[in-house]
Amino acid sequence: MNTPDPNPVFRTEGLTKVYDTGEVKVFALAGVDLELFAGEFAVLLGPSGSGKSTLLNVLGGLDSATEGRVWFRDLELTALADRGLTRFRRDHVGFVFQFYNLVPSLTARENVQLVTDVSINPMTPEEALDRVGLAHRMDHFPAEMSGGEQQRVAIARAVAKRPEVLLCDEPTGALDSTTGVQVLEVLRHVNDEMGTSTVVITHNAEIRRMAHRVIWFQDGKIVNVDVNTERVAPSEIAW
């Protein structure tokens, strides 16, 4: 088991995100200060609308902040325009979503290849799929695979470029317990073997037990941070 490097990969200062609908202003993030460390496996917990997805989107360069600043190592994300954010996503970040978002017209291998074709130092699609235990399903289309398998392809796609961070929004949200655990094992494996900093958003409090740190959100603010002295293996988690 690796231990997190004390150098932060992400650092935020007074991060605020306001959704202005014209009539009301919604503070999705209300001044978040946070550091996430290299090799860390962090779980964000909190009720719907507490701001965890917004944070993830801003960290991943999908959304911009209203106020405050965000750094990825020395790179200030809040200073980047669309082109720079696209570059940042392409080079450094892997995403995993609740609904997989695979391209239905491409096979598992080709979905991974989408990323490896444009990355600087990727692993082969075969290696990435092997890491998630899908070496035997490489030439299947998404429609020919189960939800768990599709999510594992999505993870393979996310990690194939050897990203420094893996951002996962409800990766097990659409899965049953057994397949969900398989996906968590893959995430844990990637975090252990490749040292990829991993941030997982979940509603499922059980999953917190496998994290290094658990960050609790409410009303756009961090209300608590727990450090697990003892992490459990995914196979010990059930829901």
Binding site: L62, T86, D91, F97, V103, S105, E110, F141
Partner: protein, 787 residues
């Protein structure tokens, strides 16, 4: 307004750009249908009314000079209701302050009454005094072009006698709706006119008192023209008959008829293309809407809306598209009809307004427009109606992609993943791709088929004016004159070179087929007027036979070596059997050519000419034209540069209008197909494309996937479009080909290139408009929702 209607209007407003793209295609179809149906009917009605009111004759006959006593026998032919005899001639006119040569066709007016047939309609002034030797009627367009009004005077050289004439009145005649002078290619009201003169005066001048040379006949209802024509030919043969004919070969009638036919052909060819594309587009867009509104449909059903209500909801949406399309089509069609009417006013001389599109083409084109849109919506509406609510509320099954030979082929090509996505999507929806290709190919074909026209005309002008006819002027005579006339012509001011030619009116027969056509005779060393084939080779008629244009030979079923029976008409009568010695490909006329010396020997005549070709010293042109007036027997003259100029002017004006119109039509089709195709791509792939953006693909790379499919289809459409365009152009060439001329099928690479350029550019702009929407993709929300 109930909620469902409100949804209808809001959907319509939300998707206005897509619907407008479809409505414009539909509008083009409706507009063309309205114009072609409306104007062909309007032209036909106007013409028929005019013919009926002014008793346009059914049969016409010309002879050198026949005694009036023949009229009894002619009126006794079965089927003849009215027979009216006239004397006619061609003469040169001299009008104050005008330098160019003016020629007029003279026709006699009966002495004791108004004419019974081809009755001129008096537009201003009065009828000439029947006993006057100087009062005449002029056709109105000619008088107006020359600034002549009732009371004005001019002089005419009729049969060598100079006459001071006075304009009594201006008139129009059903016989001269389209007036074209000898040797001209387009109407020229300034230099060619019609003069009606009391019979006593005209026949006196022509030495034909008690005789006639022209006959107009009206048939009894239900009688056919052929037997009457046959009998007329028999009766008039001793008097130098030029052959009787029906309306079909009457110049004015055949031009008007040709225009009506063209309009009708247009109504049957173009609108179906636009309506077909409308059906396809509505089908594609409505299909997508129903797919997107799956859960809403399930909800509506769960709420208790009936199948019919739901089906009707989608058909009505298409109905709104049709309403916009039909409305725009009506406006554009009315405007086009008005424009066409103005063009007709320029070429056709009707006493009434031609622009009078009645209500029924509006109703017909409107109904067909609504039918096309509804037909396109039916499939989607049925699908919506038949969705069961439980299934409808579930997301649809994802499209199934399967691996097959195609994937192995693509793997071998080592395509990038985005390219693979493009190709797979095409293979996944082959029918949609095929129709998109077909639609854009039709756009290309319309452009090819209309663009080839200018090139074809250039070729015609080059052959007709630069290669075949190198003379500067042509003189025509009422009768053949001795070849010594060439010497006189050479003495005219400014004449450099003079060559003779002779025309013989004749009927050519082979087996059961026959054709009346002039035979052109010239000497083999002729340098000014030459026979040039389609390849630009100069060909002389061989001395021992007759040379025919391919079209004439085909009509008569003749080949080289066959014998053709030739019956000469008019002054030189007799029937001969002559071998066909050569065929020649030509654009103008049904040419038949013989060697002048062979003919002189055959007829045992001293050399004669009926046309003189001249080259001129440009500096003495005015003096030359002034001198023409004094040549007796001159039936007309053509200044080749004026002829060419007026042909080019007329054509280039029309070509510009037509080319612009078709350019617009081609662009409209492309916009309709490409814009809607790309919008649907965007709608279907929004999620995929957003995923790619999140994975780090740039906007350009994502736009490539969105635009790539449509552009790939547009490229694939090109060769098909060229082939279709070639086919349409060929059909048009065949359809327009008449005895008068054939249009060469000239398809240069730049015709194809410019058609492709227009369509590819229109497709590119259309998809670019859609690609701009990529900037609005909400990456976050797309990721958070299930499709």
């Amino acid at each position: 307004m109930d909620a469902l209607d409100r949804k209808l209007l809001r959907d319509f407003a939300r998707l206005w750009a897509q619907f407008l793209a479809i409505a414009l295609v539909l509008a083009a179809g409706v507009a063309i249908m309205l114009m072609s149906l409306g104007m062909s009917r309007s032209l036909e009605d106007t013409r028929d009314t005019y013919y009926e009111r002014n008793r346009f004759a059914d049969v016409f006959a010309d002879a050198r000079s026949a005694p009036r006593s023949m009229l009894g026998a002619i009126r006794a032919i079965e089927g003849v209701a009215i027979a009216e005899a006239r004397v006619t001639t061609r003469a040169t006119l001299s009008i104050a302050d005008k330098t160019g040569t003016t020629v007029a066709h003279f026709a006699s007016l009966p002495e004791t009454r108004e004419p019974m047939l081809n009755v001129p309609i008096l537009r201003s002034g009065r009828w000439p005094d029947p006993l006057s030797t100087s009062e005449v009627l002029l056709n109105q367009p000619f008088a107006e072009a020359n600034g002549l009004r009732p009371g004005d005077g001019f002089t005419a050289n009729i049969n060598g006698a100079e006459r001071e004439l006075t304009v009594a009145g201006l008139a129009l005649s059903p016989e001269f709706i389209y007036t074209i002078g000898p040797g001209s290619l387009v109407p020229d009201n300034e230099d060619f006119g019609i003069v009606w003169m009391p019979e006593r005066a005209l026949s006196g001048l022509l030495g034909r008192t008690g005789a006639f040379d022209n006959l107009a006949i009206m048939l009894r209802p239900g009688f056919r023209a052929e037997p009457v024509i046959e009998e007329l030919d028999r009766l008039l043969e001793p008097y130098g008959s030029w052959g009787a004919h029906d309306r079909d070969t009457q110049t004015s009638h055949s031009f008007v008829e040709g225009e009506i036919t063209q309009l009708r052909v247009l109504a049957y060819v173009l609108p179906p293309i636009f309506l077909g594309i409308t059906v396809f587009l509505v089908n594609m867009v409505m299909g997508r809407i129903v797919k997107l509104e799956r859960t809403e449909i399930g909800l509506l059903k769960a709420l208790g809306y009936s199948k019919l209500t739901i089906a009707l909801h989608y058909v009505l949406l298409a109905g709104l598209v049709a309403a916009v399309g039909v409305g725009l089509g009506w406006i554009a069609g009315s405007w086009l009809s008005y424009g066409l009417a103005r063009l007709y006013a320029q070429f056709f001389d009707f006493p009434y307004l031609v622009y009078n599109v009645s209500w029924w083409p509006y109703i017909a084109s409107g109904l067909i427009g609504f039918a096309a849109a509804s037909a396109g919506a039916v499939n989607a509406a049925m699908k919506a109606a038949s969705l069961s609510p439980a299934i409808a509320m579930q997301p649809p099954a994802p499209p199934r992609y399967e691996r097959n030979w195609f994937d192995r082929a693509m793997a071998a090509l080592r395509l990038s993943q985005p390219s693979m996505m493009i190709v797979r999507s095409i293979v996944r929806w082959p029918l949609r791709a095929a129709f998109s290709v077909l639609g854009m190919a039709l756009a290309v074909s319309i452009l090819v088929a209309s663009n080839f026209f200018p090139d074809a005309l250039d070729e015609i002008i080059d052959t007709a004016f630069w290669q075949s006819n190198r003379q500067h002027a042509m003189l025509y005579f009422n009768d053949a004159v001795p070849e010594t006339a060439l010497e006189e012509a050479r003495r005219l001011p400014g004449v450099v070179q003079a060559e003779g030619q002779q025309y013989f009116s004749a009927i050519l027969r082979h087996e059961h087929r026959e054709k009346q056509t002039p035979i052109e005779a010239r000497r083999p060393d002729a340098d000014l007027s030459r026979v040039v084939d389609a390849d630009g080779q100069i060909i002389n008629a061989p001395p021992d036979g007759i040379m025919l244009s391919e079209r004439l030979a085909e009509q008569l079923g003749l080949g080289v070596g066959d014998l053709v029976e030739i019956e000469f008409l008019g002054s030189r009568q007799g029937t001969y059997e002559i071998p066909v010695t050569r065929l020649v490909t030509q654009y103008f006329g049904l040419g038949a050519y013989m060697d002048q010396e062979t003919l002189d020997r055959m007829f045992q005549q001293a050399p004669q000419v009926s046309v003189i070709n001249l080259t001129l010293d440009a500096s003495q042109r005015d003096a030359f034209e002034a001198a023409l007036y004094d040549i007796p027997m001159l039936a007309g003259s053509t200044m080749m540069d004026e002829n060419r100029q007026s042909f080019e002017d007329t054509i280039s004006q029309n070509v510009l209008v037509t080319t612009t119109t078709y350019l617009l039509l081609g662009a409209l089709i492309t916009f309709g197909v490409a814009y809607n195709g790309a919008r649907i791509q965007l709608s279907e792939r929004a999620r995929e494309l957003a995923s790619l953006r999140i994975l780090g693909f740039t906007r350009g790379e994502v736009a490539y996937i969105l635009m790539g499919e449509i552009m790939l289809l547009a490229v694939v459409a090109q060769p098909l479009g060229w082939a279709l365009g070639w086919f349409f152009a060929k059909s048009m060439v065949e359809g327009f080909s008449s005895d008068l001329y054939a249009i060469p099928l000239i398809l240069n690479p730049d015709t194809f290139a410019s058609a492709s350029l227009v369509v590819l550019a229109a497709a590119f702009v259309s998809v670019l408009l859609v690609a701009r929407r990529l900037g609005q993709l909400n990456l976050v929300s797309v990721m958070k929702t299930r499709e």
